[in-house]
Amino acid sequence: MHKGEGSVDERHLDYAGAKMGMWIFLFTEILFFGGLFLLYSVYRMKYLAEFHSSAAELSVVLGTANTVILLTSSLFMALSIAFLRKGRRGLSLLFQLITIGLGLFFLVNKYFEWAEHIRQGIYPDSPVLLDMARGKIIFFSLYYVMTGLHGLHVLIGVTIIAVMAAFTRNETIGPLDFVKLENTGLYWHFVDIVWIYLFPLFYLIT
């Protein structure tokens, strides 16, 4: 498939380098979220009872639903890469759009969850929260910071997948040059892994 000014061979492709670069970025993300998980663990040790009673206030149903939604989105992300490599552009695009849809679905659920807490007066620096026990204040602060930063990552991921969908459509990426979509996938799966840990820590340990 010839496009633009040159053939595929004239484009600069460094597959291994592009992927290693993405992984190195993900290592910085591991340490970024790792620091927050460390903070959570230390304070959970100090305020065990209050962490447990606070976690009981979160909706296990919404948390479980969001876990399944993200896992499913990861499946479609992985499939979209496999099908782009096989040259099935249409299916790849469809699966990317499904991934975007599931990512947005996750965020909508997150919105309802946060809205319910905020309605109860529980949000950072709120008078209701500041009146609570110290461990509860720390739990909900970590809850907002960690699920908030994770939600931001989901939003960024959805945006990047949308760009990839456009790239797939205009054939910027294809069976011969798919590393952009693959790196997008790496980012998306990493965001999924972060949620895999957030879910038990905030929703289940009660």
């Binding site: 896992l71 499946l75 289940l204």
Partner: protein, 103 residues
């Protein structure tokens, strides 16, 4: 390099689907365990299941299985660094707060 990254045969989709089924099953298992209230080990079991899930995503969805050794070593170093940070912090916290927690 490019050819080795992902198996090209038709089984890829089926493998992904299988991994997804296991991931959802593990999610159900972790919720069930939490409901059972085995307080002593609940946290450990939850983290254990989460780590198995994370491993499945890493190995299959993120193709770690097919990556060159250098990348696996690099990931190992990153995870080792995180483990050391957690371990060292906890050795300090235990010393400071241990008495407080146990009293």
């Amino acid at each position: 390099m490019t050819e080795a990254a992902v198996p090209q045969h038709g089984l890829t989709s089926r493998l992904y689907l299988l991994v997804w089924i296991v991931l959802v099953a593990l999610t159900a298992a972790t919720v069930a365990v939490a409901r059972m209230n085995v307080t002593a080990f609940a946290a450990l079991i939850s983290i254990g299941i989460a780590t198995v899930k994370a491993g499945l995503v890493l190995v299959f969805f993120m193709h770690l299985k097919h990556e060159p050794l250098i990348l696996k070593v690099m990931l190992g170093i990153a995870l080792l660094a995180l483990s050391l940070i957690i371990l060292l912090t906890f050795s300090d916290v235990w010393y400071r707060w241990g008495a407080h927690v146990h009293s």
